[in-house]
């Protein structure tokens, strides 16, 4: 079934069933070193280069808590308005796997450092976040033809696991929630938030219930969704699958699923009966994680503006619409680009125009050309030059768009292009009058027609003037001059 067909079937079943979705999001923190040793965390090193006796799990080693991780974790807790536990506990989650060097993962279990946060969607719906805990990542298994290999560079990299309440009601909401989480970690500068590189990974818990029913249905868990699109696709597929089952009178089984992006389907990984007993217990190698009020305040003092606060300010101070403010703040770098450009053009260019140009022209090219942040092809200064020229009247809107296209394709500065192409708008009334006079002369019959009341002809005449000026005349002035010239000529007659 194609995604499109899915979509149609999906709309139909929503009238009967209500989806209930919760997300568990794993977010890699970009601390300089790992959670329990001083190995580097940087991506792209040679296999097993970023390892030491501790993260290799050699006999006799001990973990030692990296306090930068705790500070990053506190930032996240504050950002979602959560409660921070004064004394939390690291626990061991035990299972055997070759990329898990100690035979257990150090994580937090019944006493996580953070609980009861929340995140608001654009619709105003508030999604409770049940808990966040700190844990170490496992390594990576690489399966070759005749052997399997283990790369432990990732082993011990700090993660935050962020667990939402089952409060999301559609795949779209799940997508939005995830995007907002990603925006927050990037605003906080605690994670790259890059799903493709795996710095954000997501598991989804999905169940459905008949509309009007209170009790939750049996849920399934979909593991390791590695893109925003796949989160949405997998959840949509799963809702349809569950609805089909219920419609045919079959019960949904509590299973763990894997999403296959190629086929767009979920496959059973294991049933509830096979679910492992992780034998959690407090890690005796690590004391309590103590976070007192003073530390909380110290971290709070380092926090910069969050997306919600920024959007509010954009709306209140710059008069942007809520929709524009939300879209601009969706990504940290986009918001910073806006603020940078605005600071360079204010007060000549109104904030609304800056926002419009960024959200339409700039974003289109940014997405089509797959630019990355920070902006280097069209720099804030170059973009500011363009908007200034537009608002000072030296470029018409049409010319500005032409200039921007060239900026995007060549990477040249706006002012250079304007100068090079001689594109400056002409506001010299005498020069315009001369061309207008010529047009009036050459099209005397059209002018006569206009004077009989055929309004449409005026547009034709303006077009002739602009054509002769190669689009450089100020269109407003052309209008005025043309009217003036026509009236003069009619008065003469």
């Amino acid at each position: 079934m194609s995604d499109h067909e899915n979509q149609e079937q999906f709309e139909g079943l929503l009238s009967r069933y209500e989806p209930v979705i919760g997300l568990e999001v794993h977010c890699q923190l970009k601390t300089e070193s790992k959670l329990f040793c001083s190995c580097k965390t940087q991506f792209g090193a040679l296999a097993n280069q970023n390892t030491c006796p501790v993260c290799l799990g050699l006999p006799g080693v001990l973990p030692f808590l990296n306090h930068q991780v705790v500070d990053y974790a506190i930032r996240m807790a504050i950002a979602i308005g959560a409660t921070v536990r004064e004394k939390s506990v690291f626990a061991r989650k035990q299972y055997f796997y070759p990329d898990l060097p100690k035979g257990y993962q150090i994580t937090q279990y019944d006493l996580p450092y953070c609980e009861n946060g929340h995140l608001a969607l654009n619709s105003g719906r508030v999604i409770p976040i049940e808990r966040i805990h700190m844990e170490e990542d496992a390594g990576k298994s690489i399966h070759g033809d005749n052997a399997s290999y283990v790369d432990l560079n990732r082993a011990g990299i700090p993660l935050l696991e962020i667990v939402s309440a089952p409060a999301l009601r559609s795949p779209l909401e799940a997508h939005e929630y995830l995007r907002k989480l990603r925006a927050i970690v990037r605003y906080l500068d605690i994670s790259d938030g890059n799903m493709e590189e795996g710095s954000i990974r997501c598991d989804a818990n999905v169940s459905i219930r008949r509309r009007g029913v209170k009790e939750l249905g049996v849920r399934t868990e979909i593991k390791n969704l590695n893109s925003f699109k796949n989160v949405e696709r997998a959840i949509t597929y799963e809702i349809i699958r569950q609805a089909d089952l219920l419609d045919s009178g079959t019960a949904v089984k509590q299973v763990t699923l894997l999403f296959d992006a190629a086929s767009g389907r979920t496959q059973v990984m294991r049933s509830k009966e096979d679910s492992p007993d992780y034998r959690y217990f407090p890690d005796p190698d690590l004391g309590l994680v103590q976070i007192d009020q003073a530390r909380l305040e110290a971290v709070r003092a380092t926090l910069t503006e969050l997306p919600v606060q920024k959007a509010k300010r954009f709306h209140e101070v710059f008069g942007l619409t809520d929709a524009d403010a939300l879209q601009l703040t969706d990504e940290k770098e986009l918001a910073l680009f806006f603020e940078d450009v605005l600071s360079r053009v204010s007060p000549i260019v109104p904030a609304k125009i800056v926002a419009n140009w960024i959200l339409t022209e700039y974003l289109r090219e940014h997405n089509n050309r797959q630019w990355t942040w920070p902006a280097t092809i069209v720099t804030p200064e170059s973009f500011a030059q363009l908007l200034r020229a537009l608002c000072e009247g030296t470029l018409s809107g049409k010319m500005a768009k032409m200039v921007f296209d060239e900026m995007a394709s060549t990477g040249a500065n706006a002012s250079e292009i304007i100068k090079l192409r001689g594109l400056l708008q002409i506001n010299d009334a005498d020069e315009i009058r001369a061309v207008v006079a010529q047009v009036v002369r050459e099209h005397a019959d059209q002018v006569a027609l206009y004077l009989t009341g055929k309004q449409k002809v005026f547009g034709f005449l303006v077009g002739q003037v602009l054509r002769l000026s190669q689009g450089r005349f100020n269109p407003g002035m052309v209008n005025d001059c043309l009217k003036e010239a026509i009236h003069e000529s009619s008065a003469k007659n």
Binding site: G57, F96, K102, G103, R279
Partner: protein
């Protein structure tokens, strides 16, 4: 120089002689290497031992000691031979925990205590035999065969640090390192007639010690006298940035001599629950005479009751095995150790086969016990209850020191003297009971030591256990020092030839 026989010197005297240049570290090394070589077949104290290899590895350290002497830098353990229990990492050396599974494993780094020993000028003479992964009380659970007691070869040396205790008792080395999770330093020290100290939990870094029960394990010294015990303890103790359970408190050097020269003002308490059933009558008599000696030295002796200590064996065997089952998960044949060579195994089979072949019976038994008590549905009934009970025991013991004004708790270290080899190997419970007096200090995290207080009618040593409040190692050592001066010396076991 040939006039000085290094064997007759205390470690402190040996270090002084080497620092002064009266003895050369190289000749001390040769002297002790010869002793180890000659005496090894008698006791089986050392494992993975190759004289030429050890001598070769010592070259660098011998040079460093010479350099320090020219620079007039005093090294507290200059040229002092020491043997290291096989569960402590020494870079480049085999560290097998006396297990088949780890037999080919060479350590990639130095434990924190090993760095300290090297910096202090010690000579690492060899690795000592032990119960596999420190699980046992007789050193019979070793993949390398049992250790024999230097006082009687038919008897056990105790465990799990049996090789360390026997090596010190037989003067194969003046000092050794052991580890103590439930009595593994003190009980073999008691059986072999030497001094052994389990420091306060967190006093000595555990970094580089293969974990058995992480919340109970401590590395500690073994020696033939209190002065040497304190000398080694001072080198080992202190904070460590690689062990978050290590205390931040910086220790002061131990002052052994009490100004008064006696024990006046000291309140010594015996524990009623440790004087009952199971206590050998000769051991009891020996304790009574030790108490009399203490009274003569001016101490006040009282009896206290610690009723919750009755639970210490079940509590210990739940918590220690739970932690062990987790700590030993990493020995899976994936990255190091002896992976099963059976052909055609899939991943799960490789795990099962490697661990079935590699671990001994006692280790498997404890892993299974520990896995069970952490399992879903049993966690609260076992692990959680035991963890809460541990807190009760801890508070009860702290209360004796804080509220009842007791300075030192004393008891026999073990209910009996060294039993015969093979006597208890078929009976886990009776084996576990030989640690009945030592477990409490690990559960409470407090310091405890064993010192000789006599011999039984068979000529086997009897140990006296001293326990104090947290970080009161110095007090224990001071009391032991006074007591030692009023005890007849243990002498040298008859098995040790007088001329070597």
């Amino acid at each position: 120089m040939a006039a000085i026989d290094p064997t007759t010197l205390k470690a402190s005297e040996l270090a002084a002689a080497v620092n002064r240049g009266e003895l050369r570290a190289g000749s001390v090394a040769d002297h002790y290497l010869n002793r180890v070589e000659t005496l090894h077949p008698l006791f089986n104290c050392h494992i993975h031992w190759d004289k030429a290899e050890v001598r070769n590895e010592l070259e660098k350290q011998i040079d460093a000691i010479e350099v320090a002497r020219y620079a007039k830098k005093y090294l507290p353990l200059a040229g002092v031979p020491i043997s290291i229990k096989d569960n402590i990492m020494v870079e480049g050396q085999i560290a097998a925990c006396a297990s088949r599974l780890l037999a080919p494993h060479r350590a990639a780094y130095d434990a924190t205590v090993i760095q300290k020993l090297k910096a202090a000028g010690a000579l690492l003479i060899g690795r000592t035999n032990m119960d596999e992964f420190a699980m046992g009380s007789s050193n019979e659970n070793s993949a390398f065969g049992p250790v024999h007691n230097p006082w009687n070869r038919r008897h056990v040396a105790g465990g799990s640090s049996g090789g360390s205790a026997a090596a010190v008792a037989g003067s194969l080395v003046p000092l050794a390192l052991g580890s103590d999770t439930g009595g593994s330093i003190r009980q073999p020290a008691s059986f072999c007639g030497v001094y052994g100290l389990k420091p306060t939990y967190g006093r000595v870094s555990r970094y580089g010690l293969v974990a058995f029960g992480s919340s109970l394990d401590q590395i500690g010294p073994l020696a033939r006298n209190v002065e040497d015990l304190a000398l080694l303890y001072d080198v080992l103790a202190g904070p460590d940035g690689r062990d978050s359970t290590a205390s931040q408190r910086v220790p002061l050097p131990t002052q052994l001599a009490l100004p008064s020269g006696n024990l006046k003002g000291l309140r010594v308490a015996t524990i009623r629950e440790f004087m009952g059933e199971g206590l050998d009558s000769e051991v009891r008599k020996s304790l009574e005479s030790a108490l009399e000696t203490m009274r003569q030295l001016g101490a006040e002796t009282v009896e206290v009751s610690l009723p919750h200590l009755a639970a210490s064996i079940p509590v210990y065997y739940i918590l220690a095995t739970a932690e062990a089952s987790s700590n030993l998960a990493r020995f899976d044949g994936v990255r190091y150790g002896a992976r099963s060579q059976k052909p055609g195994l899939n991943l799960k089979e490789m795990y099962l086969q490697t661990r079935s072949e590699g671990f001994g019976r006692e280790v498997k038994q404890r892993i299974m016990l520990g896995t069970y008590v952490l399992s879903a549905g049993y966690y609260d009934a076992y692990y959680n209850r035991a963890a809460r009970m541990r807190e009760v025991i801890k508070r009860e013991m702290e209360g004796v020191f804080e509220k009842e004004g007791v300075h030192v708790l004393v008891s026999p270290t073990a209910p009996t003297t060294a039993f015969e080899l093979g006597q208890k190997t078929q009976d886990s419970l009776s084996m576990y009971l030989s640690d009945v007096y030592t477990l409490a200090a690990n559960l409470a995290g407090i310091p405890a030591m064993s010192q000789p207080m006599g011999k039984d009618s068979k000529g086997l040593p009897i140990g006296l256990q001293l326990m104090g409040p947290s970080f009161a190692e110095e007090r224990l050592l001071q009391v032991a020092y006074q007591f030692e001066r009023h005890q007849p010396p243990m002498g040298v076991p008859d098995l040790i030839p007088s001329q070597l």
